[in-house]
């Protein structure tokens, strides 16, 4: 049992594995962070930065090569059942169970957490309403749009009323209105005290939703702080100039993307970093 009160703690986590070609890959390298109750913590980085591998280690699906992960004080690798009872995970891949209709899907998922069926039904109905899927409860999964499937997958992660919610790229490829709806749900969950780990490569999303952000690059955390402090610390200018196309220069406020580009050594035509 870890003595700290933060419901999610990642301590010196490393993950190495052999690629298909046989070479050793270090996807995650000695990263540490914790997420407090009612906090939204962003893991920010491009594809291949190690975000999904980190999530697979946090959920206990991948064993860690080094370090530990604690969920509500339980080590996810030595006490996976206890840890996962309070952990809700929404993977980047669509993992909805296409053999079951929308409502049944949620009820079925609740049974994996030993939630009694009447309670599961009640929670499932409430979640479908909250995610705007109430009218789709009897639909087959293949009849849902991409945005609906994504909402359902996030709803499924909440069916166990977790104290830690882990979301891997929840809004990738979604329309702006669906994205905003998911943002509202996340804000509401955070206000209810859920600790949220949000993995995203959308800088605007991280800036908008996250209390703190870790910039992840090639498996390493380059810096952790609130978006405002990161921008102030690494950019320290009121305005940056960006050549958006040859001969056209925009002046704008610095953002997390600028921080990311500066920390990773990329410039991409942004001046003043």
């Amino acid at each position: 049992m870890n003595p700290s009160s933060d419901p999610l703690q990642v301590v010196h986590l490393s993950k190495r594995y052999k690629s298909r070609t046989g070479s050793e890959v270090e996807a995650v390298s000695d990263i540490s962070f914790s997420v407090a109750l009612g906090e939204c913590f962003g893991l920010l980085g491009p594809n291949g930065a190690g975000k999904s591998t980190t999530i697979q280690c946090i959920s206990g699906f991948y064993p860690a090569s080094g370090g530990e992960v604690f969920v509500d004080g339980h080590n996810v690798h030595t006490q996976p059942k206890q840890a996962r009872r309070v952990l809700g995970v929404c993977n980047q891949d669509e993992t909805l169970d296409s053999d079951f209709k929308v409502l049944d899907q949620l009820i079925l998922h609740a049974t994996y957490f030993r939630i009694p069926k009447p309670e599961a039904k009640k929670r499932a109905g409430e979640l479908l309403e909250r995610f705007g899927l109430g009218e789709k409860s009897g639909e087959n999964i293949e009849n849902l749009s991409g945005g609906m499937k994504r909402r359902l997958q996030v709803a499924r992660a909440l069916i166990s009323q977790p104290c830690v919610l882990v979301l891997d790229e929840p809004t990738t490829g979604l329309d702006p209105d669906v994205r905003r709806m998911l943002w509202e749900v996340l804000v509401q969950s955070r206000s209810e005290g859920v600790a949220i780990l949000l993995c995203t490569h959308y800088m605007e999303e991280a800036e908008r939703l996250c209390d703190r952000v870790a910039i992840l690059h090639q498996g390493k955390i380059l810096d952790v702080d609130s978006p405002e402090k990161l921008i102030a610390k690494h950019i320290n200018r009121d305005e940056v100039e960006e050549e958006v196309r040859p001969g056209v220069i925009w002046k704008r406020k610095p953002n997390l993307e600028d921080v990311y580009l500066k920390l990773t050594g990329s410039r991409l035509g942004v001046e003043g970093l």
Binding site: F61, T95, F113, R114
Partner: protein
């Protein structure tokens, strides 16, 4: 009384499969039971009427009874292997069901036990239905269905594990065809479903005994037709069972977990 976590979790996975089965009952009944029934009608009644009676290992019997018992074993092989290979591959690769369940309090190890248990259950029930038809036609006695149960279940577990190992090793759904054509169909044709393996040359008989279906067929015929018990059948079956279950689980872990 609270059921121990691991047992409950495996049961939960089994129930997920059962619920999916019940939701598409007509489809599953057709795909599970029609094939062995077609074999029964074609070989049992058709070829059986042509051949009449046969004598094997000093016993005289109708070819129909002989073939019925072989088709019980063949049903276990086909149902177990195809559910474990194609069924599990679709669940793992396309539906990502294993990945979805194994991030809940149910572990991947329990998901895989639940998968094998379900595949074996389905194959056992299919085999028992063939047995029931045999009882109806007077080829077997009703108590055979009970004595067959453990043999069918263990062999169904074995062939399901063979299928699951195949799913774990295959990079694409097309690759599932290799063991299907190089292992399953040769077993079906050369392990004694349609004729006593004593008809084969000595070398081929030895080769046939290496494959688990020969042991299964031998035990099924002992239990249904009273044919002589071959003592090597049980240890061979158990060794295959242990090896294939271990290989299946290892291959799936290697496939899913980095």
């Amino acid at each position: 009384m609270r059921i121990p976590d691991t047992l409950w979790s495996i049961g939960c996975v089994w129930m997920r499969y059962y619920s999916a089965f019940m939701k598409s009952l007509l489809y599953y009944l057709l795909t599970t039971f029609l094939e062995p029934i077609f074999y029964l009608l074609s070989f049992g009644l058709g070829v059986g009427a042509l051949v009449g009676n046969i004598t094997t290992e000093g016993m005289h019997m109708s070819y129909r009874s002989f073939i019925f018992s072989g088709i019980i074993a063949q049903t276990v092989l086909f149902q177990g292997f195809f559910e474990g290979s194609y069924g599990a591959f679709v669940r793992m690769y396309y539906q990502k069901i294993f990945q979805a369940i194994a991030i809940t309090p149910i572990t991947l190890s329990e998901v895989l036990w639940g998968e094998l248990l379900w595949d074996a259950t389905k194959a056992t029930v299919a085999a028992e239905v063939v047995g029931l038809i045999g009882v109806g036609t007077g080829d077997f006695t009703p108590h055979c269905l009970l004595t067959l149960l453990p043999v069918c279940f263990l062999s169904a577990f074995l062939f399901s594990a063979m299928g699951l190992a195949t799913a774990g090793f295959s990079r694409s759904i097309d690759e599932l065809a290799y063991p299907q054509y190089l292992l399953v169909f040769p077993m079906f044709l050369f392990c004694g479903v349609f004729y006593p393996i004593e008809s084969l040359p000595d070398v081929l008989q030895k080769v046939a005994w290496f494959f688990p279906l020969t042991s299964v067929i031998s035990l099924v015929r002992t239990l249904t037709l009273g044919m002589p018990f071959e003592p090597q059948a049980v240890p061979l079956l158990l060794v295959w069972l242990v090896v294939l279950v271990a290989v299946a689980r290892r291959s799936m872990f290697k496939r899913l977990v980095k």
